[in-house]
């Protein structure tokens, strides 16, 4: 009976399972990169573990190749949801010649894919936010049915660029959605030293558009909020700010030791209620997932990640002679 009341946000059974699969893939890719880095097979890894609900739930709304995605370095789940493959992710991890994101020039996780309209980003925090606003400005001026989603963390809310961009979008009522993955930390800096508010979504009011805070451990709640924002944008009603409360289960990056600043109890508590665990329970409750199905999904994901890792590991590095290319248009 309880099952009947579950709001699945209009997603079909197939889609619900697809969401789950993408969450698992995000998790597995993140874990694999961390492991490979520790094995010395790569110099740098960033993990999206814990952010799967925030990332897959929101990006699932996007129309690949039509809408625009402006990710940040943690956006593994966004990238795979919009259509990047496990191979694409691993090719970047290994900095390979044929890495579609950057040909090994940018760090891993700096996803870019022109056909999918995933925009190349940098490492400096928040510089992508005005880009998203500019893309949305062009969509509006050109009269195109396009929505731009831009992703960033709680730390990024402190930057001037985030402010300037959100204000610009508010003034021009642009079809852009600001998605803040609030995981309570900017590397080691706790949110209490980042902002003096409970919910940073309140800032949207100061720019004249709605801001909402959603539970990132509830992937469908995230999806619903993103869908509503997407619809508002398409309807010409302007931007929305979505704060997704989440948590990263791994250190900030392979350069970080989070035991310096987070108690293991805190991490443990969050991992009890994280989005994958919770969504799995829901899917079971809905009768969409049994042990067999779960195992088969896990096998599929593991196979994909294995295959992608092998492929990328053996792929050639960039040719040094090409380093001078593409500085300017050719």
């Amino acid at each position: 009976m309880a099952v009947e009341k579950v709001d699945t946000a209009g997603l079909t059974d197939q889609e619900l399972l697809d969401v789950y699969y993408k969450m698992l893939l995000t998790r597995a890719l993140s874990q694999r990169m961390r492991v490979l880095q520790r094995m010395g097979k790569g110099t740098f890894a960033v993990s999206a573990e814990g952010h799967e609900g925030a990332q897959v739930g929101s990006a699932y709304v996007l129309r690949p190749g039509q809408d625009w995605t402006v990710p940040y370095y943690r956006s593994v789940g966004v990238a795979v949801t919009v259509g990047m493959t496990a191979r694409d992710v691993m090719m970047a991890f290994f900095a390979r010649r044929d890495d579609i994101s950057s040909g090994g020039r940018n760090m891993p996780n700096h996803f870019s894919h022109r056909e999918l309209r995933i925009v190349s980003g940098s490492a400096p925090v928040a510089t992508q936010v005005p880009h998203a606003v500019g893309i949305a400005l062009a969509s509006k001026l050109r009269g195109l049915d396009e929505v731009t989603f831009v992703y960033f963390g709680d730390g990024a809310t402190s930057k001037g660029d985030t402010h300037e961009a959100m204000n610009f979008a508010g003034v021009h009522r642009l079809p852009v959605v600001f998605i803040c993955e609030n995981n309570s930390y900017a590397i080691s800096v706790h949110i209490s030293k980042q902002m003096a508010v409970e919910n940073v979504s309140i800032r949207a009011q100061g720019y004249g558009f709605p801001g909402v805070t959603v539970d990132g451990n509830d992937v469908l709640a995230v999806y619903r909020a993103a869908l509503e924002a997407h619809q508002r944008a398409r309807a010409g009603e302007g931007p929305t700010f979505i704060e997704v409360k989440t948590y990263r289960l791994a250190p900030h990056s392979s350069d970080d030791d989070d035991r310096r600043y987070r108690s293991r109890e805190e991490v443990e508590a969050w991992s009890q209620r994280e989005a994958i665990v919770r969504f799995r329970a829901l899917l079971q409750e809905l009768g969409l997932l049994n042990q067999e199905k779960e195992e088969s999904l896990n096998r599929r994901v593991a196979r994909e990640v294995d295959e992608a890792t092998d492929y990328a590991e053996q792929a050639p590095p960039p040719d040094p002679a090409t380093v001078f290319r593409h500085l300017y248009a050719e």
Binding site: W68, D99, I100, S101, S102, G103, R105, N106, H110, S112, H113, R114, V119, S120, S122, P124, T127, V129, P130, H131, A132, V133, G134, I135, A136, L137, A138, S139, L141, R142, E146, G160, D161, E164, A165, N167, F168, V171, R325, H326, L327, Y328, A329, E330
Partner: protein, 327 residues
């Protein structure tokens, strides 16, 4: 051919390009009303507020939004009201605009133009007088233009707008109404990266750009008349990519090089020109590679007495020519 001021040439170049290509838009502070220097006068009337519009007062967003719009099919001209106010946008220019094509291995491009009035001599004080070109000319991935000549400005601005990469276009504000010259009505484009030999000469090569190139020309005329020294004056126009061939060929001919710029001497753009000459034309040099530039204090003090004390001009160039010729 009509005689035009620099600001007229700039306005004409933008208007022609906007007529030619609907993807060209211009935005910045006060541009709807015509801009504080009147560069966009009449644009709202002709092109509407969809193609010429005011932004909030936020330079980093102005450039950042331009970058984004350029990724989605537009050709934005972002106006920074004074070059002195470009500093908040440096992160967007250096970390983003300059690197997006390279870092995406050619997948994305950033065809923006950032226009800004620069330079001193208008009693603007230390925040309406700065020369900022050296910072940007140093950055791979950018193109940088400095102009004071109306003819060059029109042709180069059109090239900048059509260029597929980010171009910083600095117009010397003192020249806006002061410098006049014949400017064709028609559609001409001057290639970026080509210096202009504005005067030929056999004795000294004088490399300059912007307002200093104007001073240089006058000083060269006087050196010829008063001292019989024949100075070859090169206006670089584009600082990046640099037309090093024109510079080096001239120095190999004259054997003496004077580099003149309005910015502070130490670490200014002219240092690169001097270094280039000292390395690549060493065997041809008959005298020290000489630089003339502003001394190392903020440009400019508001007080006329102080500004006049530091700002290099025609007289200083002439003096430097004479000193180098006598070497």
């Amino acid at each position: 051919m009509a005689v035009k001021t620099l600001i007229e040439a700039v306005r004409e170049a933008m208007a022609e390009e906007m007529r030619r290509d609907p993807r060209v838009i211009v935005f910045g502070e006060d541009v709807e009303e015509g801009g504080v220097f009147r560069a966009t006068e009449g644009f709202v009337q002709e092109f509407g507020r969809e193609r010429c519009f005011d932004t909030p007062l936020a330079e980093s967003a102005i450039v950042g939004v331009a970058i984004g719009a350029s990724l989605n099919g537009l050709l934005p001209i972002a106006e920074i009201q004074f070059a002195d106010f470009i500093w908040p946008a440096v992160d967007q220019i250096i970390n983003e605009a300059a690197r997006i094509r390279w870092r995406s291995n050619g997948a994305w491009g950033c065809p923006i133009v950032v226009r800004a009035p620069y330079g001193a001599g208008i009693r603007g004080g230390p925040y309406h007088s700065q020369s900022v070109e050296s910072v940007f000319a140093h950055v791979p991935g950018l193109k940088v233009v400095c102009v004071a000549s109306p003819y060059d400005a029109k042709g180069l601005l059109k090239a900048a707008i059509r260029d597929p990469d980010p171009v910083l276009f600095f117009e010397h504000k003192r020249a806006y109404r002061l410098v006049r010259e014949e400017v064709p009505e028609d559609d001409y484009v001057l290639p970026l990266g080509q210096a202009a030999v504005k005067r030929e000469g056999k004795d000294i090569t004088l490399v300059s750009y912007g307002m200093m190139a104007q001073h240089a020309l006058k000083a060269a005329e006087r050196a010829a008349e008063e001292d019989g020294i024949q100075v070859e004056v090169i206006d670089l126009r584009t600082l990046r990519p640099l037309d090093s061939e024109t510079v080096l060929a001239s120095v190999r001919k004259t054997g003496k090089a004077l580099v003149a710029y309005e910015d502070n001497l130490f670490g200014g753009y002219g240092a690169e020109i001097a270094a280039l000459i000292a390395e690549e034309a060493f065997d041809y040099l008959d005298g020290p590679v000489t630089r003339l530039a502003a001394p190392d204090v903020p440009i400019s003090p508001f007080s006329p007495a102080l500004e006049d004390a530091i700002l290099p001009g025609e007289e200083n160039v002439l003096e430097a020519i004479r000193r180098l010729a006598a070497y």
